[in-house]
């Protein structure tokens, strides 16, 4: 890896010190051409010299997410500049998304294994989406959840013996279709009467004997959502 110029933007002196130390000890190729604790300082530095990499803390002083704006501006002005964002906002997932949209090449969470040499190397090699381990752990946790949910859906189809018509029926019920309307769908070769039977049948499948009394269409749909049979985020009506 060639030598490169770095500007560290960090408002907390102790943390700045820590980061400087990491760079110094682990990434000798890095040449810290300046540090800034605030937005004004940073842009002053930028006027003087342009770094190859900017290690940017999201929060600077009272402006807790000013980094997002800075990142956006940097990316606009310097398309090739590598930007690695530091953040202590280990729970603020939305902010991470904002940061990545703003053009950051990676996010380093200020927890666990902080900045590693590898992270810097990867960024400098032009890799995007460089995340440190704690960040990846969190992303994985989220990913696992989604995958588990999808699996739960598949399991539910098997366990409750849901066929495509059941799914379609439930999905349209959820969309507020009446049984007459559902019976009118091209891909629903059933009469209203048989749909009513289907509903009773579904109720029997999705609810235990004790739970069945008083179950109406709404309860049935809610149950289907709870069991991941239908996905409330993908409720789309079939073409008529």
């Amino acid at each position: 890896m060639d030598k490169f110029k770095v500007i560290i933007v960090e408002d907390d002196k102790l943390e700045l010190k820590g980061t400087q130390q990491i760079l110094q000890t682990e990434v000798p190729e890095a040449e810290i051409i300046g540090t800034a604790t605030g937005e004004t300082d940073f842009w002053k530095l930028m006027r003087d010299s342009q770094p190859d990499l900017v290690l940017l803390d999201l929060g600077l002083g009272g402006s807790t997410t000013v980094g997002v704006d800075i990142c956006r501006q940097l990316r606009t002005r310097y398309a090739d500049m590598k930007i690695l964002v530091f953040t202590g906002e280990i729970l603020n997932e939305r902010l991470w998304v904002e940061v990545l949209s703003a053009g950051a090449d990676g996010i380093i969470l200020k927890t666990g294994n902080l900045l590693q040499r590898d992270d810097i190397v990867q960024v400098m090699h032009g890799r995007h989406l460089v995340f440190n381990e704690p960040f990846l752990e969190k992303v994985m946790a989220r990913f696992r959840k989604v995958v588990c949910k999808e699996q739960a859906s598949v399991d539910a189809f098997v366990e409750y013996e849901i066929d495509e018509y059941d799914e379609r029926f439930l999905r349209h019920l959820a969309l507020g279709y009446t049984k007459d309307m559902i019976a009118g769908l091209r891909q629903m070769p059933f009469s209203t009467k048989s749909l009513e039977k289907r509903q009773v049948d579904l109720t029997n499948r999705l609810f235990s004997e004790r739970e069945r009394s008083g179950v109406n269409a709404v309860r049935l749909v809610v149950r289907a959502i709870q069991l991941h049979i239908i996905d409330p985020e993908n409720l789309v009506a079939d073409e008529q």
Binding site: Q21, G62, T65, G67, R94
Partner: protein, 1153 residues
């Protein structure tokens, strides 16, 4: 002895008296019996006996009546009819004895028949019949003597009636009557009546059959009467029988039949009367007949019966007439007429009989050729006939009808009066109705000034007042709540700020951990790293110090909202979760309790709710969760018990004893994660009570559980002691052929001119042309003219035939043609008047009905509707204010359904009167409702915020207490390392410590984090001017006008400004700038600058003033809410001093919009 004698004397006198009475009664009845028996034998003796009976009957009204009847009978026989009637009137006057009254009636009939007063005859007959039916109904109660008397009366009644009809020529009626009499005649019980009956049968006209049979039968009856009467000295019947026999003997045909068939009796009679034959000029048969008459006359004279003597004389005359000894006949007739009229001892004449004698005279004179006398007598005869015509019954009926009509006129008059009265009453009633209606109407018109209305108005005013007061109260309350919410919101921001400070340690801590881990890598920079770790620890300690001092600074303000409240309030809210429980097939049992506790209501609700939520989560379907509230000593123990999975002993111990623990590790495996957070908060709350005052020393919290069996979580709070015609007239048109009248005229003229044969022929032809019912008068006249012609021609048979027909028709109709029609008319009138009554009554009913239907009903309805209206109005007014909400609608309904349009106005006015006030009241109540509802929501919000803040307090406090020690400990360890070098164990100890520190710290932070709610931020477009105005009015800050608009939360921005001016001088100026779609509000402070140290740490956790951190928190939250546009908050030195600026998302909105 003397007393005994007196007693005996009294008894003797009593017996004597009673025996005198009895004897008198006996004398009376004996004499009466005697008078009755002697009636047809010796009339004088009968009279004497009757008088004797009468004189002894002063004490015996029945006997007296009988005596008077007997005396009257004698008077009748002696032709003293007025006297007889007088005596009978006397009987009617005093007697109540129906039997004697019946006898009197019968005798009256006899008298009336004799004197030809048909009307009176019928009157008496009617009376008798009525009486008879009454007596017969009680026949069983009669004594033998009375029965005897009844039989007499009955027989006499029918015989008299029969006689009457006989003389009137109504043979069939006469026969029917005599047959009736036959039923009551008995030879053994009453010989006289038996004789009377048989005499009647013998006297002629009452027997059916061929003339020969009739003659023989009559003869037989008469002969039997004669022989029996003679043997028993019943002179009267003996004479009568002889008289009738004489008439039979005088008739050659009849006499021959008798001679042929009853030669024995005929011979006997003939022999018997040889000595009575005086006139030898006559044939033997005529001599015999005259002898019989003479004997009869002699007997009647002996018997002192003038009338019968005259009758016998007439019979003698008829004998002579048949013998054509007209002079002798004339002598006899004149003698008879003389006897009957000379002896007019009463104003009454025996009219029918006189008519007969005049006819005899007319015929005799005619025979003698004295046409003038004959005509005279014929005229008298016709006149008398007229008098005694047979329409007597009708006459009587007419009078009765007239009387009835008179009575009915009275009734009619009464009816009319009644009608009038009803009409008058109706009018009066109508007027009264009208008056009442008017008074109701007036009441309705004046409803607005009625007492009820005033009362209602008063009530309304009071309600309005109350309502306004309540509105004010509600507003105040709402303001209070709002203010408290504001406070809690601000407090929450502060809490979040504190939490952000807490969080600020995490990056340091992570760096420490990273550094510590790197210490393991042997090599250079150890000392550097250690000192860096120490620096980081110092940083953490600084942050901790700041937080601690801040928390301590606010501790004084920290207070629980302690109040006394019924647990019921809490349980009611909790029981609303029953549906959620039922969804999971769980039962939630909430007790009824009236216990009162002293605690923080919101927190208590939070605690119960937390425990119930936990119980619900960890109890499988079918189980139940029970809340209990037990009063023990001076506290109330509230328990939430479940039949859930339960907790291990270990967990129970942890929950009960540890201050800090990992909630995620509590409970059964993975199924019951997160169990402990709520429990921890509850414990924290209980602890804060304890810290507040010694009153809360009884507060405690505990868990009891048995794995698989369920748990009981309880806490204790201090207990407080406790409160609606017509008439048809028939017009009869008579159309008699003109030819008949012409023939009648010819007949009459022929008679006058002595052309009797022509007259007879004319009459005969005319008669054949006339139909009887059509013109009876003409027919009678024709028969009369024919009779006159026959009489003149001495054609006696033809005469008799014509005369009989004339008399018959005459009797029925001619002379009193009007009577029948009068009767008819009267009857019709009576019928009509009955019809009239009915019609009057019907028309009265109809008119009343019409009156009711047309007027009264309307009036009544009107009145009723007015009454109803008034009642409704009053009711509406009286039920005020219960019907406050519906009053206007009710009045509107009333005015819409009003039957009287003229009353709409007052109702509308009344409505108007209330409407505006009621609308106001409703509006006010609506406001109150809205405000109260809003307040209710706010209260809920407030409680939520309050509870969050309270728990955050507890959490922060816990964090402070539980983690404060770590940084210094780390520092201490690194110090040791610095001095003594690093070995594996010390390194590991440091790593463990740091790791544990981070773990516990994150745990507590997350626990606290759960209690924050950033969604509280309500972004809205705000005019920057308003923000500046806030600052300028509150802090006197100089501002510039601006048209900028931003997006933000007003409350928080106000708080931001509050914080800002808490740290900057009040003479600062606020400037607004706008660039990069952001609006910057810049506070420029002149005169002083900030050091670079201050500038770099100003918004960091190490800052001296927490206000900067609060400002940072507010900007940060706005940034998050706006999607991270990178809002700024910065401070920098300027030429004149320094400025603090913050940015907000600018929105382009004109001031006008």
């Amino acid at each position: 002895m003397k007393a005994q004698a007196t007693l005996l004397l009294i008894i003797a006198l009593f017996i004597a008296c009673s025996s005198v009475d009895d004897r008198n009664a006996m004398v009376v009845s004996e004499n009466n019996d005697l008078a009755y028996r002697l009636r047809y034998t010796d009339i004088s003796a009968s009279l004497q006996a009757a008088k004797k009976a009468y004189s002894s009957s002063s004490e015996n009204p029945d006997g007296k009546a009988e005596a008077l009847n007997n005396m009257a009978y004698v008077a009748y026989q002696q032709m003293r009819y007025d006297q007889a009637l007088h005596l009978l009137q006397h009987v009617y006057g005093f007697s109540r004895n129906q039997l004697e009254l019946l006898c009197a009636d019968v005798l009256t009939m006899k008298v009336m028949q004799r004197i030809g007063r048909g009307k009176s005859f019928f009157d008496a007959r009617l009376r008798a019949q009525k009486r008879l039916s009454r007596i017969l109904s009680e026949e069983d109660n009669l004594t033998e003597r009375q029965k005897h008397r009844l039989h007499y009366a009955l027989t006499e009644l029918h015989i008299v009636a029969s006689t009457y009809y006989y003389y009137l020529g109504q043979d069939s009626a006469a026969i029917s009557e005599i047959q009736e009499a036959a039923q009551h005649v008995n030879l053994e019980t009453d010989t006289t009546q038996w004789l009377y009956y048989h005499y009647m049968l013998g006297s002629g006209g009452l027997i059916d059959g061929t003339p020969e049979e009739v003659t023989i039968t009559e003869f037989n009856h008469l002969f039997r009467v004669y022989t029996l009467a003679k043997a028993n000295h019943f002179t009267y019947f003996e004479a009568n029988a002889l008289q009738s026999l004489s008439a039979i003997v005088a008739d050659s045909v009849r006499a021959n039949w008798v001679k042929q068939q009853r030669i024995d009796a005929y011979s006997y009679l003939f022999g018997e009367h040889l000595r009575w034959q005086s006139d030898s000029t006559l044939s033997l048969r005529h001599q015999f007949a005259a002898a019989l008459s003479h004997h009869s006359i002699a007997l009647f004279k002996q018997y002192h019966d003038l009338f019968q003597t005259a009758c016998a004389m007439r019979t003698l005359g008829e004998v002579y007439f048949t013998a054509e000894h007209y002079d002798e006949a004339l002598k006899s007739f004149r003698k008879a007429l003389h006897l009957a009229s000379d002896f007019r001892r009463s104003p009454y004449q025996v009219t029918p009989w006189l008519a007969g004698i005049h006819e005899n005279l007319s015929l005799t004179y005619s025979a003698l050729g004295d046409k003038l006398s004959a005509d005279n007598h014929r005229n008298v005869y016709l006149d008398l006939l007229d008098e005694s015509r047979q329409n007597k019954e009708l006459d009587s009926r007419k009078a009765l009808l007239k009387q009835e009509a008179k009575g009915e006129r009275i009734q009619f008059f009464l009816l009319l009066s009644l009608v009038f009265l009803i009409v008058v009453l109706s009018i009066l009633y109508y007027r009264q109705l009208k008056r009442r209606s008017l008074s109701f109407e007036k009441q309705v018109r004046e409803i607005a000034s009625s007492e009820d209305c005033k009362q209602a108005e008063h009530q309304l005013q009071k309600l309005l007042q109350d309502s306004e007061e309540r509105l004010d109260e509600s507003r105040e309350e709402s303001e209070v709540v709002q203010q408290r919410i504001l406070n809690e919101q601000k407090r929450h921001v502060l809490q979040r700020t504190k939490l952000s400070v807490v969080y600020a340690i995490i990056p340091y801590l992570d760096r420490v951990i990273a550094e510590v881990k790197k210490l393991d890598e042997m090599g250079e920079n150890v000392s550097e790293r250690l000192s860096y770790i120490q620096e980081l620890c110092s940083g953490m300690m600084t942050i901790n110090d700041r937080l601690t001092s801040w928390i301590q600074m606010q501790q004084g303000k920290l207070s629980l909202q302690v109040s006394r409240f019924p647990l019921k309030d809490i349980f009611e809210v909790i029981s609303m979760q029953q549906y959620a429980f039922a969804q999971q097939q769980l039962t939630l049992e909430v007790p009824e309790t009236d216990l009162l506790v002293k605690a923080d209501k919101a927190l208590t609700l939070f605690m119960v709710n937390t425990l119930v939520d936990n119980a619900r989560k960890f109890t499988p379907a079918g189980g139940n969760v029970t809340i209990l509230a037990d009063s023990i000593d001076d506290f109330v123990e509230i328990s939430v018990c479940d039949t859930g999975v339960g907790l291990s002993q270990e967990d129970v111990q942890t929950l009960n004893d540890s201050k800090v623990y990992d909630p995620n590790r509590i409970g059964m495996k993975n199924a019951s994660k997160g169990f402990g957070f709520g429990i921890m908060n509850c414990k924290g709350i209980i602890n804060s009570y304890k810290k507040l005052s010694s009153l809360f020393n009884v507060c405690d919290f505990g868990v009891e559980s048995q794995e698989g069996q369920g748990s009981r979580f309880w806490f204790r709070l201090p207990r407080v002691l406790p409160l609606l015609f017509f008439f048809v007239f028939n017009f009869f048109a008579h159309a008699t052929p003109q030819r008949c009248y012409e023939l009648f005229d010819s007949t009459y003229n022929a008679n006058v001119q002595g052309r009797y044969v022509d007259a007879w022929l004319y009459a005969d032809s005319a008669i054949n042309m006339v139909e009887e019912p059509v013109d009876t008068v003409l027919l009678v006249s024709l028969y009369n003219e024919q009779a006159i012609a026959a009489q003149a021609l001495a054609e006696w048979d033809a005469y008799r035939e014509s005369n009989a027909e004339c008399v018959r028709l005459h009797r029925f109709f001619s002379s009193d043609h009007s009577l029948a029609s009068d009767c008819q008319q009267l009857e019709k009138m009576n019928d009509d008047s009955h019809v009239l009554y009915v019609l009057i009554v019907l028309s009265l009913i109809a008119s009343l009905a019409l009156f009711y239907r047309v007027v009264l009903r309307h009036r009544l309805r009107h009145r009723a509707s007015l009454d109803d209206l008034y009642q409704r109005l009053t009711c509406v007014l009286r039920s005020f204010p219960e019907n406050a909400e519906t009053l206007v609608d009710e009045l509107k309904n009333i005015s819409h359904n009003l039957d009287q349009p003229q009353l709409r106005q007052p109702v509308l006015e009344l409505r108007k009167k209330f409407a505006s006030s009621l609308v106001m009241l409703q509006e006010t109540n609506g406001f109150i409702e809205d405000i109260d509802e809003k307040t209710q929501k706010q209260r809920f919000e407030l409680d939520r915020l309050y509870v969050m803040n309270q728990i955050l307090d507890n959490s922060l406090s816990t964090i402070k207490h539980e983690t404060m020690y770590f940084p210094s400990r780390i520092k201490q360890l690194t110090d040791d390392m610095q001095q003594n070098g690093i070995d594996t164990s010390t390194h590991q100890t440091l790593l463990d410590l740091v790791t544990y520190y981070r773990h516990i710290y994150m745990l507590l932070y997350e626990q606290a984090q759960r209690q924050t709610d950033q969604s509280l931020l309500r972004l809205q477009p705000l005019a920057v001017t308003d923000l500046l105005a806030y600052a300028s009015t509150t802090y006197g800050v100089a501002t510039q006008p601006t048209e900028a608009w931003v997006k933000g939360d007003e409350i928080l921005l106000h708080l931001l400004l509050d914080q800002m001016f808490a740290v900057v001088p009040k003479d600062s100026a606020l400037i607004v700038e706008e660039h990069d779609s952001m609006t910057y509000i810049i506070c420029s402070v002149s005169g002083e600058t900030l050091t670079s140290e201050q500038l770099s740490d100003l918004f960091s956790p190490q800052t001296e003033r927490m206000e900067y951190l609060v400002m940072r928190q507010i900007v940060r939250e706005h940034d998050a809410a706006c999607g991270h546009p990178g809002l700024r908050l910065a401070a920098e030195n300027t030429d004149a001093g320094y400025k603090i600026s913050f940015s907000l998302p600018a929105i382009h909105k004109s001031m006008n919009s």
